[in-house]
């Protein structure tokens, strides 16, 4: 999908964007910030996503504007990756094939401590999330920061609900292991 330069979005498209997309700008920015890992790139991604959203045909009724905007942001982020960080996408592709079940703690390892997990500070939480492979990270963020349902995440990321569930379970298992291990 390309932006046709010089084609200004019409009044209807603008009004619709103001009413349906603009109220969810914080959600969009949060998602972009987690995917990109920093604020500057997040702003670029959101701006790009909003341009795309504005170009969308205003005739089509969107069932759920918030989930739709987040989907556009997610796709804009992947486009941005392809241009600026192709290596990140190569790594993301292989995440699902990792055979080691993270979080399935071996019997010898001590079980992570729930109190320790709950007391994790912001820096530890950020680091643990940043270390997640991209497919797991985006699923976790859409669920925990944006509050999307499984079905909405499945539509936004273009994978079946079963995949969303297993990604989410594995993302959480990885975080539990990281945050619950007394360092």
């Amino acid at each position: 999908m390309t932006n046709e330069s010089g084609k200004e979005p019409g009044e209807a498209a603008r009004r619709r964007f103001r009413e349906e997309a603009l109220p969810h700008l914080d959600d969009a920015y949060s998602l972009a910030r987690w995917l990109a890992g920093n604020r500057t790139d997040a702003e670029d991604i959101v701006q790009d996503a909003c341009l795309r959203a504005l170009q969308a045909s205003p005739e089509r009724r969107v069932e759920n504007p918030r989930a739709w905007l987040l989907t556009v942001v997610r796709n804009a982020a992947y486009n941005w990756f392809a241009k600026n960080r192709p290596a990140a996408l190569v790594l993301a592709g292989g995440a699902e094939d990792v055979e080691t079940r993270a979080g399935a703690t071996a019997p010898s390892a001590p079980a992570p401590d729930a109190a320790l997990i709950e007391a994790a500070d912001r820096r530890a939480v950020n680091e643990a999330i940043e270390a997640l492979p991209l497919p797991f990270k985006e699923t976790l963020i859409m669920r925990e920061a944006n509050g999307l349902s499984y079905r909405e995440i499945s539509e936004a990321t273009g994978v079946p609900i079963g995949t969303v569930m297993s990604r989410l379970a594995r993302a959480r298992a990885m975080l539990i292991e990281k945050l619950g291990a007394s360092s």
């Binding site: 019409g10 963020i141 925990e144």
Partner: protein, 262 residues
């Protein structure tokens, strides 16, 4: 359904996320009750959820970005009739706007807090402290609305914002300045939002939702169709403001006096 470890893990996650229906949730809860190791796993997941809720909430978009994005979608042109005036008086209007904004801000700072707004914030705090934020607990507006209607003379606006990420939790009745005022309670992650509706006699807050802070709580108030609406929460101010915008848009479609969508 296989009960191997992996699918059980998915079910635990689905229970945590509120994605199971009553029957499914009951089954998983029973399994948790019978198996201490499983219970321990679930406790760890809940602990993780708490840590995440504390540290990765939605982050407010930077003001500069918000302005740029809003500018992208500004209305194209004013009607020709107004255009000439606009060009002629542009700078004067801008100056007036600035002055008004400055004055508004000044007035906001200088006036004592509105007694009704203060009472609404206290009611919200009381609901949070008591752990009983609602008199009627239901995520279904078709349950909450009739319940309120049975106790009040005027129908309350109840909108469904679940798909926008603000599911309804229920409703209650607060006493504001000696009058019964219906209050809806919505949820955002671990935060509760109270929206209190003041009747026809209430003051005019203006059409645009406006933000103020009271006792550290962000409060957004606006008026529509002769009703005053006041939303309060411990959310980030920007998030509460988006909630108010969404509520106002949805309420506008519900109210009898609302203009029909073309």
């Amino acid at each position: 359904m296989t009960h191997d470890d992996e699918s059980l893990d998915l079910l635990l996650n689905a229970l945590l996320d509120g994605e199971l229906d009553a029957k499914g949730a009951l089954e998983v809860e029973r399994q948790i009750a019978q198996d201490p190791a499983l219970a321990e796993r679930y406790v760890r997941m809940a602990a993780l959820r708490k840590a995440l809720a504390a540290h990765i909430g939605s982050e407010a978009a930077p003001e500069g970005l918000r302005r740029r994005i809003a500018a992208l979608a500004e209305p194209l042109e004013r009607p020709a009739r107004q255009k000439r005036d606009w060009r002629g008086y542009g700078s004067a209007i801008a100056a007036t706007a600035l002055l008004t904004l400055g004055l508004q801000h000044f007035v906001e700072v200088a006036t004592a807090p509105d007694a009704a707004v203060e009472a609404i914030v206290f009611a919200h705090m009381r609901g949070q402290i008591s752990g009983q934020p609602t008199d009627v607990a239901s995520t279904d507006r078709h349950t909450v609305k009739p319940w309120l209607a049975g106790k009040l003379p005027v129908a309350t606006i109840v909108v469904d914002l679940a798909s926008e990420g603000f599911p309804l939790v229920g409703g209650r009745i607060d006493i504001i300045e000696g009058l019964a005022a219906p209050t809806l309670v919505y949820k955002r992650r671990a935060h509760l939002i109270s929206v209190t509706e003041l009747g026809k006699t209430s003051r005019d807050f203006g059409k645009e939702p406006r933000m103020q802070t009271l006792d550290g709580y962000p409060v957004v108030a606006w008026s529509m169709e002769g009703r005053g609406l006041v939303a309060v929460s411990d959310l980030a101010p920007a998030e509460l403001l988006s909630f108010a915008e969404l509520f106002r848009t949805a309420a506008g479609k519900e109210l009898p006096g609302a203009a029909k969508q073309p």
